[in-house]
Amino acid sequence: MMSGRRVVITGMGSVSAAGAGGMPAVAEALARRPATIAPVAAFALEGCTSRLAAEVDEARFMALLDPDSVRRLSRICRMTLAACRAAVKEAGLPGGARLGLVVGSEYGDFRSGAEFVDGFLRRGPAGLSPLTFPSTVMNSMAAVTGIAIDAKATSVTLNQATVAGDLAVARGVGLIADGRAEAVIAGGVDELFSHVYRNLARLGALSPMGGGAPEGCRPYAKDHNGPVLGEGATFVVLEEREAARARGADIHAEILGAAWGAIPVAPHSAPIRRRDARAIARRALDQAGVGAGALARCYGSGNGDPALDDWELRLLEADGMREPVSLASLFGQHAGLGALRVAAAALDARTGRAPSLVHGIARGGCRTALVIGRVA
């Protein structure tokens, strides 16, 4: 899916349970591996079968923002803005008609939706807040961020389970390849919200999924029993390679291959026997001119969801890859996780390692593959 235009990574910004900031913050989190998963502190969970999450410390992302200018922004918008601003600042990238934005999210701003509706339930029509309403549409994060970083080219918000961050980066590469932008800030964001958490637990979607083993995030392990949610925003700066060179940008890595598509399966399912007829991961490897055996590492999207973990392992094995590395236990499952894996691969590339594959697969079959290595 790539034209003659080559795409490089020139910056990153992240807000997560492990810290907030640009590349140094991400590198530190990956090196230090702080314990981030703990019982949820932000809201009560009596009667709930799940209790754990990787929560973001408010102070960390507010430190990256000017309080006055974010006064009316919802929490998820603030996280997005903090991460994107850090990324843009690090890259030294100017805004304008050639800067695009791709935001991936699984749950969007449910908090604002609930707040808006609660106003009506409490006080009828007079209780509705016009100011809150725009935040009930999932593109609000992109809208406020675009204004702040002056992203005037194509701005896209993608709704996708599990791999929204991966998909956003793949689509960002596509926008540059298609000529719709010269640079794109791409990544994912989700926040923890009580209603969403409680209902996911009720629906049996979170560890321990009604099972016997203790609640926890154990991707690919034999006793994996469901994902543990996290929250945060992580975005990478993608640029057309020659434009990045021309402006003297510090290039961290190149996206040597990018592919995305779907394995057609029933909604929400992860059928282990279903193969990928389109060989999406191999397509990315072919574009990169890299064989599976030559990869330094494969970052997988497995997050402890047993069916999904097992399906991913099977798919990767079919493509000649084993022992994927998950970052879910460090950051929790949220849309930013895919972009964090891209960031990790970019950091690997900086240290001169062989290229890495960032792989993503979601229930319902959305599959993404990004090969990231040193710029040629």
Binding site: V117, P125, V137, S140, G146, N199, R202, V265, P267
Partner: protein
Amino acid sequence: MTRVVVSGLGVVSPYGAGVKTFWAGLSTGECAIRPLTIIDTEGFRSRIAAEVPADVIGGLGVSRRRSRADRLALAAAREALADADLSPRDRTDMALIVGAVGGGMLEGESWYWDEALQPGSSPKIGALRSILPTSHSEVIGWRLGLGGPRETVVMACASGAASIAFGADLIRSGATPLALAGGVDAITRICFMGFNALKLLDPEPCRPFDRGRRGMSIGEAAAFLVLEDAEHCRSRGGRALGQLLGAGVTTDAHHVTAPHPEGEGMIRAMREALAAAGRAPGDIGYVNAHGTGTPQNDRVEALAMARVFGEGRVLVSSTKSLVGHTMAAAGSVEAAATLLSLQHGLIPPTANLRDPDPDVPFDCVAQTARPVEVDAALSNSFGFGGQNVSLIFGR
């Protein structure tokens, strides 16, 4: 360069099910905006909308267990695929791009209302599984056997148009020869209440480009286009309804709800579409406007159109005057209207336009459809967050 044609069309509109019904309503200029029945509107200033009638929903041939929006989407998608007469093999190659905002929120709201009154009570929790916008692409992709890349774009009122632009991009990049692209939105309480709260709704059916216009009218619909590589269509013996010549997708980066006061992003979107289509402004005979009927949108859009085309140099009309603002579906519903107007040589009117605003320097085809043969037409969709999409269709 790869040409992209439209080889199938499917629409469920407030007029009823099917493209024929849709065109019949548009061409006779029938306004489908009526008092709302599916939600309680007590206490709100504007209590009307363009609702898809209950008997139409019931007759769509989609299970009642699915959300209203999923039903609209699936029915429209089915019609488009049948219209394109594709083989199962073609379907396995087909990408799917869905523009959506509300998802299954109508049903989610029912559950939430029940829960607010009595926590833990509602049996409707299953509704949460299809509450997110991704629900439509999951259902459509699975039920219709589509095996290509799938994506759900949430770009407010520009979602339906953006999906078409991105579908065409996929085809041009060689990723797939076929894409089903379109948008859907069902009426939701949150949307109805929100636009009321922002005072953007007219208590009467909207009057785009009218001097006395006071706001929008909400609608609901689904529309899907089968986009196809022209060569692929030709070699399989498919028939093309028209071409997608080009698309511009830009962002104002100005304000979360208000457009840039000089339509800066709108102008760029239209110009990008023209450049992509390799057409000059003078080649465009008709603009299907975003035309919501709010004082601000229509004024700024008219300004932007004047800058791009020149005052009075193109016919303009607003489909929203007929079927309301169908939110995430609007871009694709109006793309369908634009294609049909090219095909039939008839420009649908702007309904309720009795006293044209003198600050709008265009003939907005007031009240009666106008027979005009046009070679190329442009459709605008502008969403919250300054999302601008312009699509250019040709015969």
